[in-house]
Amino acid sequence: MTDVYDEGCAHCEEMMQPYLDHVLSDAEVREAEMHLERCDTCRRRYRFEESLRVYVRLAVDEQMSPALKEKLAALRIPLE
């Protein structure tokens, strides 16, 4: 498999973040997807970026402590 990086790839790279953020127009989405269909390199890179986002989210997730939850509830203003 050859890794040819052409103009289409450069444009596809520009569209990657907005594509994953779902902020491209319908026409741009079609354009990106047409390129992804025929370009294995870009497809793999998009898939990687998508996985990276999910991975980062999971890796940094940290639940709040039950003690803090109780403290917040105690901040409520009592009814008179």
């Binding site: 790279e13 990657m16 973040q17 953020d21 902020v23 793999r44 890179r45 898939r47 990687f48 970026e49 996985s51 990276l52 986002r53 991975y55 980062v56 989210r57 890796a59 940094v60 997730d61 940290e62 639940q63 709040m64 402590s65 803090l68 939850k69 403290k71 917040l72 509830a73 901040l75 409520r76 203003i77 009814l79 008179e80």
Partner: protein, 214 residues
């Protein structure tokens, strides 16, 4: 119940100069409605605490700092609940309080590293990780070469201005517009910081991979 006193308090808090209602039943009804609205507000706000904490945790350097920030946020939110407009985004409203408190704490002295070289392209982390053929090679699993610690420390190494946007949009699921409102910056700035911040994050991740190899 000291009804008279309560009505006076309500009138004062509303910032109006209304006289006490001549019909006590109407006054009582107002108090009851307000109490009900407030309880509902507090319950809805508390239901969002996990999400608020998650954002606070990534904006703070320690767990303790995050917990203080969240408590301060809720104390302020409960005090000023009347300024929340029902039907608007409560999560964004709470985070607006949180980010303002965070700025007030003077935490934001770190400057953005404008002079650092910007990475050549968006894919260098992928290129770096996929260079090494020992280990998983499919793109969904290449990320597993990064440890959880790598990710946590890479995110904390991203300068505040950029990290705030990543935390809100990528980890908090806020839209660009919500993030702009919360941080009080133009939407274009949200987009450029997000773009730049993600690259910085990837550069930090790539560096942690390089350090792991040496």
């Amino acid at each position: 119940m000291e009804r008279g006193g309560t009505v006076a308090d309500v009138a004062e808090d509303d910032g109006t100069d209304e006289e006490l209602e001549p019909h006590e039943s109407e006054a009582a009804q107002r108090i009851a409605t307000e109490a009900r609205d407030r309880v509902r507000f507090e319950e809805e706000a508390l239901a969002l605490a996990d999400q608020v904490y998650r954002v606070a945790r990534h904006l703070s350097s320690s767990r303790e700092e995050a917990e203080d920030l969240v408590q301060e946020t809720y104390a302020r939110a409960f005090r000023s609940w009347r300024s929340f407009q029902p039907g608007t985004n409560l999560r964004a409203w709470l985070l607006r309080i949180l980010t303002n408190l965070n700025i007030d704490r003077g935490r934001r002295t770190q400057r953005a590293p404008q002079m650092q070289a910007l990475e050549a392209n968006d894919y260098f982390l992928y290129d770096r990780l996929s260079e090494d053929s020992n280990g998983p090679t499919d793109e969904e699993r290449i990320v597993e070469r990064l440890s959880q610690d790598d990710v946590v420390s890479a995110l904390s190494a991203v300068p505040h201005d950029f990290r705030d946007v990543i935390v809100l949009v990528d980890l908090g699921d806020f839209s660009y517009q919500d993030a702009a409102n919360i941080l009080d910056i133009p939407i274009g700035t949200v987009m450029s910081r997000l773009h730049r911040g993600r690259r910085i994050l990837k550069r930090e991740l790539a560096e942690s991979v390089a350090e792991g190899e040496t």
